[in-house]
Symmetry: C2
Subunit: 363 residues, 2 copies
């Protein structure tokens, strides 16, 4: 009986400790936030001449004049929103890029109302830059083909695909549970607030983009503009930091890739380029536990295991952070929004300190 009580107390103790730490964290998150500066700007973008054709069908309304005359529009620009904390110049800036059917909202207030990684990193003295992918959200998209189809000059079969992931697709791709509306018992995603996540999901127009994706070039250019930056991608954009580095590695100080398929057919020269940049890959739990859906996370994980080995074989500093291997269970694909998101952020920050900042000459 005594042994049982001791065991019970030990269990209580192990539960109480994290809750207390969580409360401390929530208390810290509510302290006033001090910023040295904040703002927004665009990276990239070029002029494109558009020659509108008269709209087919009836009167499109009183604003038709806006469409009638030929002229230039700007396309392929990338909107970036940033916050720099007071001691931010002591740290390498972190650029966060969202995944499919999402925007930079990914990194802000979580669906259940906690602070997101963006503010958390700022509170840990990191300058943070949130980029809306080119063709998404505040970056806008090139509407030329849509309007050409409308006017009849291009057949509707050439209309770009607009990805609109349903709640059902999100549930399985984001690994909230084995089947739609059935959560994993140990799932970390705040599933009672899943409707707030669904509101974040917006149409994905990446199919209108030229090749290579302008976001890659813009991410590399942003690193140059910042005189050094860590690039972070997630899911659809998970491998974008690597793609950016393959275009221009000069100012990319670190790469953080969260949950995506890795390319394993890169040339030795490409691997050599990437091996010069410290690289962290993160994966959550239940990779093989979801039935159906368009994603195969177990296969993605395998491809990234192989990629990490390729980087290491080329002398690179590459790490696969598979959370269950660290004893951290139940994380979804949206791990930056999971209940333990601050704990995961701390892991990323510790990796940055050790693998990127330690390399940097202190100012």
């Amino acid at each position: 009986m005594l042994r049982r009580c001791t065991f019970a107390l030990a269990v209580v103790g192990s539960i109480v400790a994290p809750i207390s730490a969580q409360n401390q964290q929530r208390h810290d998150d509510k302290k006033p936030l001090v910023l040295a500066s904040q703002g927004s700007f665009f990276v990239g973008g070029e002029s494109k001449t558009v020659t509108p054709t008269p709209p087919a069908g009836g009167d499109p309304g009183p604003r038709a004049g806006l469409l009638a005359a030929p002229g230039e529009i700007t396309v392929n620009q990338m909107y970036v929103q940033y916050q720099i904390p007071p001691r931010g110049d002591q740290h390498v800036p972190v650029v966060m890029v969202h995944g499919c059917c999402l925007s930079s909202k990914t990194w802000e207030t979580t669906p259940d109302g906690r602070i997101g990684w963006s503010e958390y990193f700022v509170r840990k003295e990191r300058p943070v830059y949130l980029a809306d992918q080119v063709s998404r959200a505040r970056s806008g998209f090139d509407p030329t083909t849509f309007n050409a189809v409308r006017s009849g000059s291009v057949p509707p079969t050439q209309l770009p695909t607009i990805l609109a992931a349903t709640h059902q697709v999100a549930w399985t791709v984001f690994r909230f549970g084995p089947r739609f509306n059935e959560p994993f018992p140990d799932g970390q995603f705040p599933i009672e607030s899943v409707d707030e996540l669904y509101k974040q999901m917006i149409p994905d127009l990446n199919s209108v983009l030229p090749t290579p994706n302008p976001t890659w070039k813009n991410m590399a250019a942003l690193a140059v503009r910042l005189k050094g930056a860590i690039l972070m991608g997630h899911s659809e954009s998970g491998f974008f930091p690597e793609q950016a580095a393959l275009l221009d590695p000069t100012s990319i100080r670190g790469v953080i890739s969260i949950e995506m398929p890795c390319q394993t057919t890169l040339t030795p020269a490409q691997i050599s380029t990437l091996a010069k940049i410290p690289t962290l890959i993160m994966f959550g739990d239940h990779l093989g536990d979801v039935q159906g859906g368009p994603a195969n996370w177990a296969m993605s994980f395998e491809s990234c295991q192989k990629f990490v080995q390729q980087l290491k074989a080329a002398g690179g500093d590459a790490e696969m952070m598979h959370l269950p291997a660290l004893g951290i269970r139940g994380n979804s694909h949206m791990l930056m929004q999971d209940r333990n998101s601050s704990q995961l952020a701390d892991l990323v920050l510790a990796w940055i300190d050790k693998h990127v900042e330690a390399r940097k000459p202190k100012k």
Copy 2:
């Protein structure tokens, strides 16, 4: 000669004073910014069942599975990003909504790199809420009809119009000068940075919206959620605060409408509803000085003059702030980005203090 010198000195004095004030302002803008809290959330939004049809033409790529199965998507939600300064609870929150072909970027860093109205208002202790209109930017849009046309189930003539305002249209509608690339000599817009404005211009999908525009309902709901708010609109959204108030005036403490056509055919009951809310209308300069283009600002101004008279006749506290009438010359349609944007913000803040805050019981 003496008289001449005195005159010259007087002129120099009148020039030096504002520059010194500007320098002081720039100095203040560079002080650390302290926030009690910040974050983002959504207002409104409902589920819509989508039944994708097989895409016409060839293989749309490896992500086709995302489109293949029927399910629900969320539409008509409005993304809101907010910052609350330490003494923010002493003031009425201000909700800012952008215009056509723009996003909340409108209110952030100006094209020439100064702080925007959003941060300026926060630095003046006002809680600020930036809303991306429904169907724009981080609020997303309903892509159903586009994909129905692509699959062949709806004819291309029913494709929604996507407004993409060209640089040429922007120049004239935003009143940067009499003709494209010819600025007004006294123009306040930082015309050397006009390319940065063009990057802010993104496709406008308001044509996909149901009637009434869900943004109106969401703005009224946001005011309720905030337990009282001032609603500010600009251009396309200039009359949205009034439209929101006509749906639910209960928590709308003030209305600020910047440069738009006003509705002058409202019923006496509608005018009576709006007359209970303090209302400020703002217009800049050169209203009749631009040739061509789809906007007629002189006519818009006249309609708002009439609207203000209607509100006053119904006992309302309504003000037409026509900047040239105050001796402030050269303001463009993008007056929140003009060189004197902080001066104009001060005028708005003074109006809020006198007409909204003075009515509010102090906490």
